[in-house]
Amino acid sequence: MPLIEFKSVEKSYTARSGQTASAVRDFNLDLDGGEFFCLLGPSGCGKTTVLAMLAGFEQPSDGEIVLDGSVIERPSRDRGVVFQGDDSLYPWLTAIENIEFGLRLNNISKVERRKMAQEYLQLVGLRGQQDKYPSELSGGMKQRIQIARALANRPKMLLMDEPFGALDAQTRGIMQHELREIWRSSGISVFFITHDIDEALVLGTRVGIMTAGPGGTLKEVVTVELDEQRVRTDRNYSLFYERIHSSIREEVQRATMAQEVA
């Protein structure tokens, strides 16, 4: 049985004008435990909405998302979330206090949670930064805190919404590498949203491509059959890149044309 099942998930919003706008249509997908699934799509296709529903922040208008046999109705500790920006961190808490926030919520003793948080602080390479406040840390470090905070809670899944989108290319590369290491050593499942094909190819075991929005749906899923050393100069890598690129280009063109018609 898969870990997660999206069953004909729909999401629509009622706009202020009273019209219903569709954000996600007929979304079907099974995710296995331990997968690193990357969801790719042009902006506005509804990828963030899919993640918000998987996290339990929002409810599908129709259909359901099933985790381990039970329908997702609300956020829960078994799905840790890493957001794109740093506005989810608590600026009045130090790095280590941010990381142990989830443990504090679950009444783990002070000594115990500090010890656990230290472990994750080291795992994300922030040793020595524990007493700094988020405002004193760089963008990359702040994303590391977010990742450590989510992992310290020992979730079944990590949901990541373009977590490296705001970082510079250099830092992004390093973070991608480290995330993949963490994923490999921990065996956690990851659901990762991005609009960067390279990022999806470097990280993912499978890559889902969405159709253009509004009201996007899953167009196809590509299994990334590449070995561990994923480099752009590799021939197979280029083939995968081309395949995904042309699939997305089609969607972007369709979206542009639809806009011009409208």
Partner: protein, 274 residues
Amino acid sequence: MVKKTPVAAAAPITFLVRLGDILKTSTGIAPYLMSFAALLIVWHVVSVYIVKSILFPSPVAVSLELVKLIQNGALLENIGASLRRILAGFLLGAAIAVPIGLAIGSFSIARKLIEPWTEFLRFVPATAMITTAVIWFGIGEASKIFLITYATIFIIILNTAAGVSSISPNKIRAARALGASDTQIFFLVTLPATVPFILTGMRLAMANSFVTIVAAEMVAANDGLGVMIWNGRMFMLVNEIFAALITLGVLGFCADRLFRIGIYRYARRYSPVT
């Protein structure tokens, strides 16, 4: 001689440049002191050389008056009376306002129910309520404390509510995904995230309190700085009026400084600006 003239003309400029350098590099309290000294000099020049009237006393005359008032105990007594009222009313106001502000910011039903009251009452200034306060609570302490409380409440409610609604949704979402209950979100996310706004509201309310106490004491009180100013008018004690005005400025300035130092000392982690 020909050579000397430009040097003499340049002297004041070099002085100004040097003063600028001192101001730029000096830290801590030095620029403050210089600025205050400049204020005193301007005041002195205007009063002694330009206005030349007994109705506009010089800083020297006012200082002597201040010394006299301190020595005979009148000043400290009046300061004490005013500060006691401010402190009592301010604390009571803050204690009432913070929970109301949090409720307005957190629950839309509370906003709808309470906002008509606050939006209406905050345009009725505390000074306009003085007569009502005296009729209701008499000339004693109660009416003054009521007025300060009234002057404090609305600005703190407004700031607190604004603070709650400015919390980014991702902070709440992150807490939920980490397993937070509604109660935990309130105490561990909403409240700490709102603290800087509450503190700002309190600083503004403190300034309001100083304005209100003087007006209230002028109309109805037996002691306090407002009474000093009012009585000074009746007996033409211009020096005493000025002494009271200076005292008010100094007190307000010190109160605000103390507040800032307090924030920096004990609530630095909540402060949006470091």
